[in-house]
């Protein structure tokens, strides 16, 4: 037996009708936002008669503040049309489908407007009148759609029920008989939760983009953590390592009585390897390594440096380390070997003695000596519209050894050692 549920009024929330139907059976087809079809086969032990089942559906709808029209029939088409047509509960006995549909208007069949208009011009007003037409004659005029219309009007089903997929919820909870304290015993328990969770993800072609861990503590509170590595993973071992590393950094304040893991699924995209390009690092191993280095990267001081589009000296930002594919470029010439600036951060405040307008002696923390040779000054300035800077730069070689870059901050009237040229 099939059931049709239709709500003529707006629903309390989207999906309310589907949730109501799923309370009775998992085999539900969503026909429209306000109409669903239920496959009610096998419910006879709970509700022995169709009347009891129908009343249960009506009562459940009322309990959810849904004004539902319910129809039960042995044909899906009949159940759906009657649910749309008649208020309250309608039950069609086996064999009575055609009679039940006959007096109803054609509009309830949900035909295309031009087709319905054409039938109306032929003088057809009810479904029963359409059912009485010859299928062969209609096929000559409408093609293969003609016999289908006749079967529909007679209450005969075409096709199969298209089941709405169940919502994907990847969550597992483990209630512990005895509370556990410490990460070592928790590691075993995590494996018991994460392995089936990851197996379920992989079985559906998914990976977890993020994992939420909720630890119910003995003191009644919940210790919640959410991990979102740069790359999704479906490996239980990787997630277990990431969770343990995170809990090492953020330990729960009491013993653990309940463990819940909830994965946020995402489509698993298989990697396409190249024969000739270098292999990218394994995302799981990279995520694991970065999690172990969280003390260095947490405050944004560790990662991949990026230059900023500005002339301000020493401007850069540190972004997350996520190396991508190597850009396709022709091998260029080998860059010339250069010395580099060994930066002092922040620049060291210096006392500089000038002779004939040039630095003659430099004194700063870790840098002290008379100047043997120098080059400069080079004046640079910028960002006058924001945080302005203006400076005169000098490269100086000290008699005691070492070549340094100095600058005089023209706005603060002070000398600084920017770094060592090395």
């Amino acid at each position: 037996m099939f059931g049709g549920l239709h709500s003529p009024r707006p629903l309390p929330h989207e999906g309310a009708l589907l949730a109501l139907a799923r309370d009775f059976t998992p085999r539900v087809e969503v026909v429209a936002p306000t109409a669903v079809l239920l496959d009610l086969h096998g419910l006879g032990r709970l509700w022995p008669t169709p009347e009891e089942l129908g009343r249960a559906l009506v009562a459940a709808a009322a309990a959810r503040a849904i004004k539902a029209q319910v129809a039960l029939a042995f044909s899906r088409a009949v159940a759906l049309v009657l649910a749309r047509a008649r208020p309250g509960l309608t039950i069609v006995p086996a064999g009575g489908e055609r009679e039940a549909l006959a007096p109803l208007p054609l509009a309830l069949l949900g035909l295309a407007p031009e087709r319905e208009e054409l039938l109306r011009r032929w003088g057809l007003r009810t479904i029963g009148e359409l059912a009485r037409l010859s299928a062969k004659g209609l096929a000559e005029r409408f093609g293969h759609e003609g016999p289908r219309l006749v079967r529909l009007a007679r209450g005969e089903d075409d096709g199969v029920l298209v089941r709405a997929p169940l919502p994907e919820r990847f969550e597992l909870t483990l209630e512990l008989d005895w509370p556990v304290d410490g990460l070592e015993p928790l590691a075993f328990l995590l494996a018991r939760v994460l392995e089936p969770l990851c197996a379920a993800l992989v079985g559906r072609g998914r990976k977890a983009a993020a994992l939420a861990i909720e630890l119910g503590l003995v003191d009644g509170t919940t210790h919640a953590r959410r991990l979102a590595p740069a790359s999704p993973s479906g490996e239980a071992r990787t997630w277990r390592t990431l969770v343990l590393l995170d809990l090492e950094a953020h330990p729960p304040r009491d013993a653990i009585a309940r463990l819940t893991a909830r994965a946020e699924p995402t489509a698993a995209r298989p990697a396409q390897f190249s024969l000739l390009d270098p292999a990218l690092p394994s995302p799981e191993r990279l995520a694991e390594t970065m999690a172990r280095l969280v003390a260095w990267t947490a405050d944004g001081r560790g990662g991949a440096p990026q230059l900023v589009d500005t002339h301000r000296p020493g401007a850069f930002v540190v972004g997350s380390f996520a190396p991508g594919a190597l850009p396709v470029a022709a091998p260029g010439p080998e860059p010339a070997s250069r010395f580099a600036l060994r930066a002092f951060r922040p620049p060291r405040l210096a006392r500089v003695t000038l002779q004939a307008g040039q630095p003659a002696f430099v004194s700063a923390p870790g840098v002290r000596g008379s100047v043997a040779a120098c080059a400069g000054p080079w004046r640079a300035s910028g960002d006058w519209w924001d945080v302005a800077w203006s400076r005169d730069e000098w490269d100086v070689a000290l008699a005691s050894g070492g070549v340094y870059r100095l600058f005089r901050d023209r706005l603060r009237e002070a000398w600084f050692v920017e770094g060592e040229l090395d």
């Binding site: 990279l286 991949a304 230059l307 380390f321 022709a330 860059p335 010395f339 600036l341 060592e420």
Partner: protein, 260 residues
């Protein structure tokens, strides 16, 4: 074979070769492609290839000749020298060489000394460089705890097997270094053995070097200036002498050019 020849583009257009109908010529074309690809010394080996066999070149022909090709993988190597001896220039050149070829490099920098602009000017692909900076501090030297944490980070990076080069810059950390356990460097050497990672220490004086590692001592020869003293004068290069090996029996002179 000249270095320049190793960077020539692939001999033929791959799609044209692979479109050939004859299976024998298709096989030959693929073999030629693979051979050409293997000859690119910058590029990391193909999937499944053994990276442990090839040392990592610095890109400085004189230094590579001294070291027998570059810094060996699976070993703790060391570059040391006083101020302005070219240690940082050599390190940056090495980082550029590794990242330009598509491999990953990591620099643990407790004193936060790296200048990303210098690294980019040397040709480094900054997106493939993991830079771990020490905590910001006003003191000239990092604390002993920072150096201990830096050694632990190096161990994590070397153990991951993801990086072709892991460098630890310990220049300017003499006092803090004394607080490190004596076995730190031995432990790092053991950790990196058998991996495709080259571990490099950069310091002011000799600290540690693995039994099969390369030891390079740099001796500054002073700056070279262009032009007469005056406003038009420029710092042209830093001259340095590199000594390789524990007894510094082989040496070569280098000139590191100015920043762009």
């Amino acid at each position: 074979m000249a270095i320049a020849a190793l960077h020539e583009p692939l001999p033929d257009d791959p799609p044209a070769l692979l479109a050939d109908e004859d299976p024998a010529s298709k096989k030959q074309a693929l073999e030629e492609l693979l051979r050409a690809r293997r000859l690119q010394r910058d590029a990391p080996p193909l999937r499944g290839g053994d990276r442990r066999l090839s040392p990592i070149g610095t890109g400085l022909a004189a230094v590579d000749a001294l070291l027998g090709g570059g810094f060996p993988r699976g070993q703790l190597s060391e570059v040391h020298g006083p101020a302005s001896s070219g240690r940082t220039g050599l390190l940056v050149s090495l980082l550029a060489r590794v990242t330009r070829g598509g491999a990953l490099a990591a620099l643990v920098d407790p004193l936060d000394c790296l200048d990303p602009a210098s690294a980019a000017a040397a040709g480094a692909d900054l997106s493939r460089l993991l830079w771990l900076r020490g905590p910001r501090c006003a003191a000239e030297e990092p604390t002993a705890q920072t150096l201990v944490a830096a050694a632990a980070a190096v161990a994590t990076l070397a153990g991951s097997g993801l990086f072709d080069l892991v460098a630890l810059d310990v220049a300017g950390t003499e006092r803090a270094r004394r607080a490190l356990p004596g076995a730190t460097w031995v432990r790092l050497q053991r950790l990196v053995e058998g991996t495709p990672t080259a571990l490099l220490l950069v310091g002011e004086a000799h600290v540690a070097c693995g039994p099969g590692g390369a030891l390079l001592a740099l001796e500054p020869l002073g700056p070279r200036w262009s032009g007469l003293p005056g406003p038009a004068r420029l710092l042209a290069s830093l001259a340095t002498r590199a000594h390789a090996g524990r007894h510094a029996v082989r040496s070569a002179e280098l000139a590191l050019g100015a920043l762009a």
